[in-house]
Amino acid sequence: MTTTLDKTVLDMTEMELREVNTTLQAAAKAKANEAFVITNPRGSHAMAVGLDGPINVTIKGSTGYYCAGMNKEATVTVEGSAGPGVAENMMSGTVTIEGDASQYAGATGHGGLLNIKGNASSRCGISMKGIDIVVHGNIGHMSAFMAQKGNLVVLGNAGDALGDSLYEARLFVRGTVKSLGADCIEKEMRPEHIEILKELLEKAGADARPEEFKRYGSARKLYNFNIDHADEY
């Protein structure tokens, strides 16, 4: 462990993953708002997980499964691509991926901002529960499946079955949508949505105007059992 100016460098050729995570978790809990740089991550799994407090972590390279899972208040930046399940069940704080994110990025996230500068693959924001996700590129199929709350903003295109079985999350897509999932429909973009989107695009440093986006949401037809459909089962 070396300290330069105000940043502590943790080199993963010298430290085990568990030691790195323990160091980060302790610093987060201390709430001293320390800054850490992790070098040589070599695609390791479960990096910078369970950070419960204000701390700034920069990972110099690509990460494996479940990076920054359960994040709370911390700011985590991956200067590379992230494997499956990045920022899973995030509660608050900011997670930024400079490259691409693999499947189920931000799954079940309750809050905070997940900012993906590249593309996200399938099942992005699956079962999201309040998180804001901004993807500067495209997203894959089955994104926002059963999403309950929060905002998913996509500057590029969306894959098949966007927002299948959606509850109350808002989906904003600038490009094309390959297909909408069951009970997901295009909705009117009202002034309050332009406001929400403007703020999110600014926070994510995204070069796009809110007016360029379409909004998708739940048709709310799956909320209750429809007696007229009884014969179909």
């Binding site: 494997g83 399938s122 894959g140």
Partner: protein
């Protein structure tokens, strides 16, 4: 879970390092598949000659004077290279069928055959399998490898990947096929037979049979999306390169990297960590139900 790796070199001067690079990738994928490991390597070839890779549990006995015995049957020159439980016999292409029939009759397991392809696979930890075969020292233009966590058939040499069902063609697979018995019967009706109970071998046989019927590698891989049911990330090797395809659901992971020197495939980015120039490589996830291939 299983681990897959693949490496296709764009520059001939890297050929001597192929085995070394692939071995590191394979060992990194041990967590995903610790019960068996295998590799198909596309190396040197001689005009008009074919290489047959065979395996025996009793190599000392089985490989003693095997070249002479095959030579006597096919009446042509045969050379043998013994590598642990495997042996590679090189003989004239025209005598391939007769030689394979004789080798099978002797109870040897055929791993694969082709002008440039050699296949090495065994039960055990990837690092041990790699050391037994001296994979690090092997050179070639491209290769694919697999670390297995068995689900669909027993942990045996014949259940390990890669599977080869035609000359210079092989397949590695992460996932499981659910219509493999039905497809096995369909293929059998066309005279295409498999050697094991394994689902992946059926996938390999499907691709080979499509190519034999005149399909291109791309068309055969497209066909897997329609005709095979289940979960798969496939990497297939051919004499000239390799191809990648994932099922439409794409829950089995895949990542690719490309530089001026190589194209690499792996189940996880970790497998790329030691590749030269990886920090500057283009890294991306192959799209679901999309065929990719690289050929020289």
């Amino acid at each position: 879970m299983c681990g897959i790796v693949g490496l296709f070199l764009k520059k001939d001067e890297l050929r001597p390092q192929l085995g070394d690079m692939l071995t590191d990738m394979l060992i990194t994928m041990t967590d995903r598949g610790p019960d068996s490991a295998g590799i198909a390597i596309y190396g040197d070839e001689t005009d008009g000659m074919v290489k047959i890779t065979v395996q025996s549990d009793t190599p000392d006995e089985a490989f003693a004077d095997l070249d002479a015995a095959v030579c006597a049957v096919i009446d042509a020159p045969v050379t043998i290279k013994v590598v642990d439980t495997h042996a590679v016999l090189t003989l004239p292409e025209a005598a391939e069928k007769a030689a394979i029939a004789f080798l099978e009759e002797k109870g040897l397991r055929i791993m694969g055959s082709g002008a440039s392809m050699e296949i090495y696979k065994e039960v055990g930890l990837p690092k041990d399998v790699a050391a037994r075969f001296g994979l690090r020292e092997m050179g070639g233009s491209h290769g694919i490898g697999h670390t297995r966590m068995a689900t669909e058939s027993a942990v045996t040499t014949m259940g390990a990947h890669p599977f080869s069902t035609a000359d210079d063609q092989c397949l590695v697979h992460n996932g499981s096929l659910s219509n493999h018995n039905q497809m096995r019967r369909k293929l059998a009706k066309k005279g295409v037979f498999t050697r094991s109970e394994n689902d992946t071998e059926v996938g390999a046989a499907y691709i080979s049979s499509r190519i034999a019927e005149g399909a291109t590698l791309g068309e055969a891989l497209e066909g897997t999306i329609e005709d095979l049911d289940g979960f798969f990330t496939f990497v297939t090797g051919t004499k000239n390169g390799f191809g990648v395809v994932r099922d439409p659901i794409a829950c089995k992971p895949a990542v690719m990297a490309e530089t001026d020197d190589y194209v690499a495939f792996a189940s996880e980015y970790r497998a790329f960590a030691d590749l030269p120039g990886i920090d500057a490589a283009r890294v991306w996830e192959p799209e679901p139900a999309t065929v990719y291939f690289w050929e020289r």
